[in-house]
Symmetry: C2
Subunit: 652 residues, 2 copies
């Protein structure tokens, strides 16, 4: 009879699990249908994620106030233990042994809540679900769908925004919030401890921008591709930076009693943790990406798209697990794995697998993202440890505004010093405006809600996400037209004229000396990487690029012949055309807009000083012709199978 | 410090989780690569599932004997409870409260095993994972990829094999095993209780056939499509029957002390449970399928394939959860949902979504299936409660052989009485031979391994799966050639001549009276269903079929106009061609091979008595012509928008 009762309870628990999951699925279904209606009617003021949150809110209210708060069955049982808690517990129930696993700590005040409402408990997921199940496909998809060409063109600026900018934003927000906390202590609004490290952690959590709604509208309206690349690249990379930053802040633990004092040793330990986790995760991602590329290159797996897709999926997932198992951050590793897969493996896949993998991750990404946002809506009412402090919330809104401003404007100013094609004021305002917070900030905040300070941070983060997604998401279209940012750009046809382009000049002709004057420092590093990538990595890992037999020294002849795929000689041109979105063409790199290039083409006159919107249209057509020229020269070079040489030499 | 220790342990536990999942992913990756090698070299003696098991075995051995069996950290803690166990436990550890959840019972003898090997525990999944996560995509894919045409042609036989056959097999195996158990008791090999109901449960578990390896080879060699349909249809449906049978056997609990005696009330309760669960699950599956069809029909969701695919995925998943929440069987509901989706919703999807949904579920199915099989290999060594009893195992092998024989041969004999195109001896032998056991038997057996009898059943099931998958999988190709079963059949071009075809004659011309003489009883029922489906369900749920305005009575005019999609009039022919694999064409149903049809074509002579292989080739070409004829007539009929009439009338 006891067994039966246990079984019944397990069954009941399973049924409730099903109901709670069903709730989310119905929520998502409803979201999808409404989104369709919105897209159908061309409504743009509310993005699907914003909608998912609204539906989540409604269901949250119903669950909170509409379900009975009785749960007679599983009354908690208390028995005292001496030592620290075990992860496994064996309990003797009238002669039979039952195994229990540790779920987590419960603050003494909340004990009665635990038994209060079964349904609310059921819809509350383990926070690790977000990090281990929902975020990886989102982040991988982001890495896998980075538009390589525009991303690499703006790599320097993107890295600066993501690393420097996020760090700046984190410290400014952290310090401002510390001021707010001091103020709260003064007016007696703070009822528990709130350390400086907590404030910094909040800064790190809230510095992960997620302009999902803005980018969706950019995509739909075909807004300027370089602004898109800057925003998307920044948001993708700063997620990684924010995760690692928050881990290193948690690792900062001053020795001794005074946790407020600055401890140099702990600080350097934190910096070490940051560098270690970041580089380790990066390595993990790159390594599994490279392994996948090698496997898909040297087997003829592309005859069986199902096997290929499955392998691709498994290898990408294993990145995450490998990084977690080694103590690095899986989500960060997955991001770099996605980028590597797109850069190398994608070229080795069969045509069917390319669309399969893209579509598979697109669906996973879509479902995971909307799930997280609807969960956020739900959590506002069902999460049981909210602490809303008006001062803290207002302070946080001001702090993120100031933090974003201190991140975008000074950095853009500095970058513009080095960039030939400046980031215009309208772009800067748009980037300032697009500092939404989304899934990543939420996942970071919900990860640890054990203490008073973390609970307050979580509640505040939730409100910030709501506010930014709704207001900023709805205001994107008006903002775009107000700032006069051009839309309807074809990303493949029209290279934007107002942005930095790394002037990678591979040749050593007489033109290059003149061009080198305007070359930024970063371009030197990037050029080195690019030639290494093009001459060695691409040929080793994919079927494209120049044959290794020509790029490697002659004493490596045998190895070079083994590693070079026979298709290199035949397929090069075909591949080149197919992957235009994904492979960084030589043409893209060697194109330099403005006077220098045009000189080479013998028509510099009218293009040098044109910056206003109308002239751009006429300009683009002649630039297209230039690109075609360069493309042809490029093909000529590669089809001869020689080293990559600056194409303009041939034009001159 | 305590908190830190707990955190460290949680981290360590997470790391081990990652490692164990990583193990499985590497196993699957290895399987994929080897499979590619096998396919590349055209090796057919070992299927991917068999290979996955072998790799699983190897890793199992390594984990069992190669990892240290120490786990000092989580020593179990015992404290006595008075009553039955709670699902949630609150434990007071020096003033702090921790929450624990019930994991399951542990037999007293195994307490020390619990603490023995962490790694082994980590790779042991909760049995419900199989039922709730891995089986649904497998079963849904099976339903979604049923080749409708050949499936419906043989529906009567498939239903007979699946329902009657599985019941016969279950009872024969159950009774034989009861004899074996009695024998074991006599020779003193039985150390604990083993009831008659346990034997019947074993019969139900082991009656779920899974000819995955055979079907893979059939697919590759393009073996006879009707044999394929019979085997595949039987295996898909008998999974459902076996699940529901085992649930009803578990529900059979005689009142009073003597559990051996037959209890009529309990028996009828079991039958009621069977019927209730089966019909309930069927309804759930059908309803969500129909809802999805309606949603995809009446919204223009097909303009956004991503939304459409996501909706399709969510709705199909919700079937499972809905059925589980209502106390029915999710896996069975998912099966019928898959069939409904393929029959109706598939027609409403955009071309892109069709391939997306197919590919998505194909990948999920592939991964889940291979995961289960590699887990099986692993479980042989890592599962800690194995009981291998030689007598029971030998008895079980004999019993499944006899059970399969008693299932196939008598039933085929009975079916052949009614079928015009008999199931030949070679087909019967092949079906007898293809009685493999796979994922479903395993999932059913591992679900409950609490008692001695269930543990013995689980170990035996595992061995049966190994044996049948390896031996039968390897022997399929020789068996096919030995039995002279034709291969290289094009399923769309060549309708097989040696099988039953439901002679659904919709017209009332003078030919039909003659044809009705040969009509089976089941065809009457099926005809009724078919005309209902074609005239009402198809037009309501999809964009195909005759307009409702012509099939519904005139007083429903308004409703009919609302429900009929405007595309019906235009798109009919186009849709018809696209879905030839999925939609049951009228042409398929009305084609009757042999004398009667050929008469209508005026060339009955040479085709009437041709049954040997060589003549079939010549026959097929004239049959093709006939099908084209019928097809044309069919189009003529439908394009006029009238009721479906037997096309031969127009030919005559």
């Amino acid at each position: 009879m006891e067994e039966l009762a246990t079984e019944k309870e397990a069954e009941e628990s399973h049924r409730q699990d099903s109901v709670s999951l069903l709730t989310f699925i119905l929520l998502l279904t409803l979201t999808i249908l409404t989104i369709w209606l919105f897209k159908h009617r061309r409504v743009r003021f509310l993005h699907e994620t914003g909608l998912a949150m609204i539906y989540g809110l409604i269901v949250g209210v119903i669950l909170r106030y509409g379900t009975p708060s009785t749960s007679g069955h599983d009354k908690p049982f208390s028995c005292s233990q001496e030592d620290r808690p075990f992860t496994t517990l064996l309990v003797n129930v009238s002669g039979k042994f039952f195994e229990y696993t540790l779920k987590g700590e419960i603050s003494p005040g909340k004990i009665h809540n635990v038994e209060q409402n079964d349904m609310l408990r059921k819809v509350t997921f383990d926070p690790e679900v977000f990090f281990n199940i929902l975020l990886p496909p989102i982040i991988f998809h982001a890495g896998y769908s980075l538009k390589k060409r525009h991303f690499f063109r703006n790599l320097g600026s993107i890295l600066a925004y993501a690393f420097l900018g996020t760090a700046v934003s984190c410290f400014i927000i952290g310090n401002l919030m510390y001021g707010v906390v001091k103020l709260m202590k003064l007016v007696g609004q703070l009822s528990d401890k709130f350390y400086y490290t907590d404030c910094l952690l909040f800064g790190a959590i809230i510095s992960a921008t997620d302009p999902v709604t803005v980018l969706a509208i950019f995509n739909e309206l075909h807004a300027d591709v370089d602004l898109y690349a800057l925003l998307f690249g920044e948001s993708v990379l700063n997620d990684a930076v924010a995760i690692v930053l928050s881990s290193s802040i948690v690792a900062y633990q001053p020795t001794g009693e005074n946790t407020h004092a600055f401890d140099a040793a702990a600080f350097f330990k934190s910096v070490g943790v940051f560098l270690g986790i970041f580089s380790g995760s990066f390595m993990m991602g790159a390594v599994t990406g490279v392994v996948t590329a090698l496997v898909t290159k040297f087997t003829k797996l592309h005859c069986f798209p199902l096997l290929e897709t499955a392998l691709f999926f498994l290898m990408s997932w294993s990145t995450f697990l490998l990084a977690e198992a080694c103590g690095f951050t899986g989500v960060v590793a997955v991001l770099f794995c996605g980028i590597t897969q797109a850069h190398y493996t994608y070229n080795n896949l069969s045509v069917e697998s390319r669309s399969r993998t893209k579509q598979l991750f697109e669906v996973l990404h879509f479902l995971a993202e909307n799930f997280i946002f609807s969960y956020m809506g739900l959590a506002l009412f069902t999460f049981q440890k909210h602490i809303f402090s008006p001062i803290f919330i207002i302070g946080a809104f001001v702090a993120i505004f100031l933090g974003r401003a201190a991140h975008i404007y000074p950095l853009s100013f500095l970058l513009n010093l080095g960039r030939r094609h400046k980031i215009s004021w309208s772009f800067q305002h748009m980037m300032m405006f697009s500092g939404l917070r989304g899934a990543m900030a939420f996942a970071l905040a919900i990860r640890d809600t054990a203490t008073y300070s973390h609970q307050m941070m979580f509640s505040t983060t939730l409100l910030i996400v709501f506010f930014t997604v709704w207001i900023v998401g709805g205001g994107t279209t008006p903002m775009l037209s107000w700032l006069n940012i051009r839309v309807g750009v074809d990303p493949d046809q029209d290279p934007p004229p107002t942005n930095d382009s790394f002037q990678v000049l591979q040749g050593d002709g007489q033109d290059s000396a003149r061009r080198n004057r305007t070359k930024q420092e970063s371009a030197w590093l990037f050029r080195l990487w690019y030639s290494f990538d093009h001459n060695y990595l691409k040929p080793i890992l994919t079927h494209s690029g120049p044959p290794l037999t020509t790029t490697l020294p002659s004493w490596c002849g045998l190895v070079a012949r083994c590693l070079t795929s026979p298709q290199v000689y035949d397929n090069q041109e075909q591949l080149r055309e197919e992957d235009s979105d994904f492979i960084l063409n030589d043409g893209d790199l060697t194109v330099t807009y403005g006077d220098t290039t045009i000189t080479a083409n013998g028509s510099s006159g009218p293009h040098t000083a044109t910056t206003n919107l109308d002239n751009r249209r006429t300009k683009s057509s002649s630039e297209e012709a230039l690109e075609r020229d360069l493309g042809a020269a490029d093909h000529e070079v590669t089809s001869r199978g020689t080293r990559l040489v600056f194409p303009l030499e041939y034009n001159a």
